[in-house]
């Protein structure tokens, strides 16, 4: 005996490969993006200085990011002097220890877009998915004088 179901308001249909029973996603919920970091950084000529101001290269700027498909870095730069940014990433084990020393460079030193008192937005990674556990984001001034960079990083699932 065929199983029938109400396909729409007025049509009964037999269950078949062509007309399967309607289903809907259960236990799904919208997940908002999370703010991971809000920081001000003085952009200097120091190599390896990250957004937290640290030059200790083994320290991550962000940890516990494994659930995020993408990070969105918003910033407001007070100065126009040329600067570059670099993004490093790596995975950790179950105890939170990096799988190995060093980092994978996912964005090599790249010019930080924008002029004085301008806003910027950078997606990390720019293409594809992230899901790295830790990130280190470094900025370095390559000309001119120091200035303040105000950043906000949002993790998007």
């Amino acid at each position: 005996m065929p199983v029938r179901f109400l396909r729409n308001a007025s049509e009964l249909a037999d269950v078949s490969w062509e007309t399967p029973l309607p289903v809907q996603v259960a236990n799904a919920k919208p997940v908002p993006a999370d703010t991971l970091l809000v920081a001000t950084t003085t952009v200097t000529t120091d190599a390896n200085r990250d957004l937290l101001g640290s030059t200790a290269t083994e320290l991550p700027t962000l940890d516990g990011c494994g659930q995020y498909r993408k990070l969105v870095w918003f910033y407001f730069r007070a100065g126009a002097d040329a600067a570059t940014y670099r993004v490093l990433a790596r995975a950790t084990d179950h105890n939170g220890a990096p799988l190995g020393a060093g980092w994978q460079e996912i964005v090599p030193a790249t010019t930080l877009p924008g002029g004085a008192n301008s806003w910027g937005r950078i997606e990390i990674p720019s293409a594809g998915d992230g899901y790295y556990d830790q990130y280190r984001i470094e900025v370095q001034r390559t000309a001119g004088s120091n200035y303040v960079l105000t950043s906000k990083i949002v993790g998007v699932r």
Binding site: K29, V31, F76, W119, V154
Partner: protein
């Protein structure tokens, strides 16, 4: 003239699939209106209405809310959303020629903008025959606040809504 009773959800669906008038854009991309266009990455999609109402357009750049104060946002709390869509139509029997532009900014944990001013996301010119639907897609998501401004050399009333979409995380 006939009328039908529809739910709010159904109305939202119709707005999303409403036909789009011609829009010459300087920087903002515009897509043909269809539900499929809203699902480039995820399915199902979560769509929220951030604002809806009437805007009196004149020669000044006004927020959709009507103000001419550049520091005020039109919508706030938009961090979760991948993409915003502005859709609506203009009243009147004359062809529509409304300019719009979009600004965005991020705020800190206290809701204070990270800096002065806004980031210019893009601008568009809505040019359609009278009483035709239009839709503009605002591509840069996850900013905390947006300001959508409109102006028209010929005063117009525009009914519109701003919707935003985000993905579902399937547990």
């Amino acid at each position: 003239m006939s009328a039908e009773r529809i739910t709010r959800r159904e109305m939202l669906k119709r707005l999303i699939v409403a036909p789009v008038g011609a829009a010459a854009l300087a920087t903002l991309p515009v897509r043909e209106g269809s539900a499929a266009a809203l699902q480039p990455y995820y399915e199902p999609y979560f769509v929220a209405v951030l604002w809806e109402g009437r805007t009196r357009c004149d020669s000044l750049w006004r927020s959709l809310k009507g103000d001419v104060v550049p520091v005020l946002p039109t919508v706030q709390g938009t961090t979760p959303y991948d993409r915003l869509y502005w859709t609506g139509y203009a009243l009147g029997s004359a062809p529509v020629n409304v300019a719009m532009r979009v600004w965005a900014r991020a705020v800190d944990h206290n809701g204070v903008p990270l800096g002065n001013g806004w980031r210019a996301i893009g601008q568009a010119t809505i040019q359609t025959p009278p009483q035709r639907w239009f839709r503009v897609e605002i591509p840069e998501g996850h900013w905390d606040e947006y300001r959508l401004e409109v102006r028209s050399a010929t005063p117009r009333l525009v009914y519109s809504r701003v919707i935003a979409s985000q993905g579902y995380w399937k547990e």
